[in-house]
């Protein structure tokens, strides 16, 4: 009996403590006592206001310096005398340097440049690489975003110079994001924001309430930077032909117009642009010398009674007649009408883009322009702590597709689907970010795919370390057949100032 009483007593005490324990913090108000506030853990720097600050605030120098390295491991054994790419593939020192000068309260100038040198060719020797590949990847010196900006009129802002303009909503794919070309020499190795190339343009922005209107006049034509002949990413059997880029002229002026609405819970955008495609098409150009002599000769010939009676061996052209032709790269002038929208609801972001472009040309049918429709639907979910999940589906379709187009070097498909997924998660109070991104083209990725994962760690303020790996998968598309076997691990240390 006594033992039973003691047992019940213990259980009751336990229950009291167990029930009360979760509420114990609510019961204690020690924190609100004068002496109980958590102290500041360390002395913090005091900001000093002095006259030098006012000068410094008008001029600022910024940039970053990084050293990145990469190692490939999946290439096939090369033919004798050919380069084995299973080795160090990058040892690149890069400097991005910029300066902002505030001319007045409203006007500002930026000057920036990008420089890098890849030591890998010095370490491994240039002899085994194609010259065009070495020339393309050994070093780079480029004027980067350089512009002057300020108000032309109240509410009308201008920015003139080399700059990057981003349209659309996608993190990975480009539907309405058509203005700037990209550096695609190493596809899949980095996110799209790192590969856009600046263009010389005049940008005008006007804001009216929740709407902003942007006009662009693009004065420079730059194609995408593509893998050079000899690059392990190069997809063709021969070197690319002559590049006939449009010259800078009034006739070749490109322009764009965007209307952006930032509404409650919804962002919408409408786009209109006329621009040169950043990816070339191939065309044959030719010339005939002695044309008049040819015409005179043809007029002397008697037309055959039927095709069976025609004997080509009897045709003897005058010696003054000669034909010459070559294949060259040219760039279609496209007109794009598009729209984009982003809608937020709870933890979800729904986004979509649509674009209609016309003016596409292809080899063998360059006298006929084609139109194309592109769509994108995407969803992001942020319901998990410090995590973003993103899934995007992209479709492209040529309504007036011709069978002949399948045999062109541009190799378009009448319809193409691409699916991308991205997971981003932050750890250690945003000091560490893990990213995983994948892309699959065609049904179940049978046209090709790639996957990249990387960890970005903030070692200290301004110092970041990155480690990652990229894996490629072949498929029906020649592009992904070329990407396959380029699997690589990479690392980078970057100091920003």
């Amino acid at each position: 009996m006594k033992a039973a009483k003691a047992f019940v007593f213990k259980i009751a005490i336990f229950l009291c403590l167990a029930i009360a324990a979760p509420f114990a913090p609510a019961m204690g108000f020690d924190f609100f006592e004068d002496s109980q506030a958590p102290p500041v853990l360390a002395e913090t720097r005091q900001s000093q206001e002095d006259s030098a600050n006012s000068i410094r605030s008008r001029f600022s120098l910024f940039g970053d310096v990084s050293l990145s390295t990469a190692f490939d491991w999946d290439h096939d054994e090369p033919e004798p005398g050919k380069k084995n790419f299973n080795s160090l593939s990058r040892q690149r020192l890069k400097l991005y340097l910029g300066a902002d000068t505030q001319l007045s309260q409203a006007w500002k100038i930026r000057l920036s440049g990008l420089f890098w040198y890849d030591f890998v060719f010095d370490i491994l020797g240039k002899e085994d690489y194609e010259k065009s590949f070495v020339d393309s990847m050994k070093d780079q010196t480029e004027l980067w975003e350089t512009w002057i900006q300020g108000p032309l009129l109240p509410g009308l802002e201008m920015r003139f110079g080399r700059q990057i303009v981003v349209w659309g909503t996608s993190e990975t794919l480009r539907v309405t994001d058509v203005i700037n070309p990209v550096d695609n020499r190493e596809p899949g190795m980095t996110d799209i924001e790192d590969i856009r190339l600046p263009l010389l343009m005049t940008r005008l922005d006007y804001t009216l309430g929740r709407w902003s209107f942007t006009s662009l006049f693009v004065h420079e034509m730059r194609p995408d930077k593509l893998p050079a002949w000899g690059s392990p990413y190069y997809p063709f059997e021969q070197a690319l032909p002559y590049d006939n880029k449009p010259s800078m002229s009034l006739d070749n002026l490109q322009w764009g117009f965007a209307a952006n609405g930032r509404l409650t819970g919804l962002d919408v955008a409408l786009y209109l642009a006329n621009y040169f495609d950043h990816v070339p098409y191939f065309t044959v150009t030719g010339s005939i010398s002695g044309l008049q002599d040819l015409v005179d000769y043809v007029l002397t010939l008697e037309p055959p009674a039927s095709l069976e009676d025609f004997d080509p061996s009897r045709i003897v052209l005058p010696p003054s007649v000669a034909f010459s032709s070559r294949i060259e790269r040219r760039y279609s002038k496209l007109t794009m009408m598009g729209a984009a929208a982003t809608f937020t609801k709870g933890s979800w972001i729904l986004k979509g883009e649509a674009a209609h472009t016309e003016g596409h040309r292809f080899f063998l049918i360059q006298d006929r322009e084609k139109e194309r429709f592109d769509w994108l639907l995407g969803v992001e979910y942020m319901g998990f702590s410090k995590t973003t999940l993103c899934l995007e589906g992209f479709w492209t379709h040529y309504p007036s597709f011709e069978t002949l187009m399948e045999y062109t070097p541009e190799a378009p498909k009448q319809s193409q689907a691409i699916l991308t997924g991205r997971i981003t998660r932050d750890f250690l109070r945003d000091k560490l970010r893990i990213i995983a991104v994948g892309l699959a083209a065609g049904d179940w990725g049978n046209d090709g795919w790639f996957f990249r994962t990387q960890a970005d760690y903030d070692w200290a303020d301004g110092i970041a370390v990155t480690l990652g790996v990229t894996i490629y998968g072949s498929g029906n598309l020649d592009l992904y057949k070329a990407l396959d076997k380029n699997d690589r691990v990479f690392a980078q240390v970057k100091y920003s100032f």
Partner: protein, 269 residues
């Protein structure tokens, strides 16, 4: 035996009942105090420069310098915030349209210079830490009073000044998930309606955040917090602390409306 068991059950109920969340009734007086805090005069607009110091438990510091602008648009408040330092977050901008109408969700956008694009932030992000600090995105906007219930615990004195000690509880699990905390106790200073101390119980077992105001001053007639800190503790062990110091502030400046637009985020300061 029966009487002993009944006695201890009674004791348990004594402990449980006063703190049972279901029994927490909203008190009009407490709600009125919090409404007054929300309606406290903070000028029609403000331009601020702040230093945010993130301190881990080993004392390692990361410093963020921020310039921010706030402006009232009727009952709504728009704010835009630019990070000035360190270099890798320079010109990152954060724009908020904070609506008084509780039926309208606040709009928030983030501009990352590396992306060259403005992107929306979804509502659920409000419970996430702001740029790695101990403050959340939800802390950066005014709380929607209708999503919480309030009660006045008692009056206390801190540093010789009278305070109301108010307890705040989210109305439902959805609000808990949105803001990330299950209970808040806040000390509201009676003479200037500044919350000088607050304790946030997070939706993670054993984790709480402690907000302390270290220094205030009346600037242009407006009581202003010059230095505050937010400390995160788990099981009473300090995990991390953020010190927020106001290095300059000016109220009621001429601020153009187009300063609070996504276009301005892209253009920077």
């Amino acid at each position: 035996m029966k009487s002993a068991a009944a006695f201890f059950v009674f004791l348990a109920l004594l402990f449980v009942l006063p703190f049972n969340a279901a029994a927490f009734e909203d008190e009009p007086e407490a709600r009125q105090i919090m409404q007054s805090v929300r309606d406290r005069d903070n000028g029609n607009n403000a331009v601020m420069e702040q230093e945010m110091v993130l301190i881990d438990r080993r004392g390692n510091q990361r410093v963020r310098k921020i310039k921010s602008f706030l402006k009232d648009f009727g009952d709504d408040t728009y704010s835009i915030l630019f990070f000035m330092e360190p270099a890798d977050v320079r010109n990152t901008a954060f724009l908020t349209y904070d609506y008084m109408d509780s039926s309208k969700e606040d709009d928030q956008w983030l501009y990352l210079p590396a992306l060259n694009r403005v992107r929306r932030i979804a509502k659920a992000d409000k419970s996430g830490s702001f740029m790695g600090s101990d403050f959340t995105y939800g802390d950066m906007t005014r709380s929607d009073l209708d999503k919480f219930k309030y009660r006045l615990l008692r009056e206390i004195e801190i540093e010789g000044r009278k305070h109301w000690l108010i307890e705040t509880m989210p109305m439902d699990d959805e609000v808990v998930k949105e803001y990330g905390y299950t209970l808040v106790q806040a000390a509201v200073r009676q003479d200037d309606l500044i919350i000088t101390r607050a304790r946030f119980e997070l939706d993670k077992a054993g984790t709480a955040r402690y907000f302390v105001v270290h220094k205030t001053e009346v600037i242009q007639g407006i009581p202003t917090v010059l230095e505050s800190s937010m400390t995160t503790k788990k099981n009473d062990t300090t995990q991390h602390q953020t010190v927020l110091r106001l290095t300059s502030i000016e109220y009621d400046q001429e601020l153009p409306d187009d300063l609070f637009t996504t276009t301005r985020m892209e253009r920077g300061l």
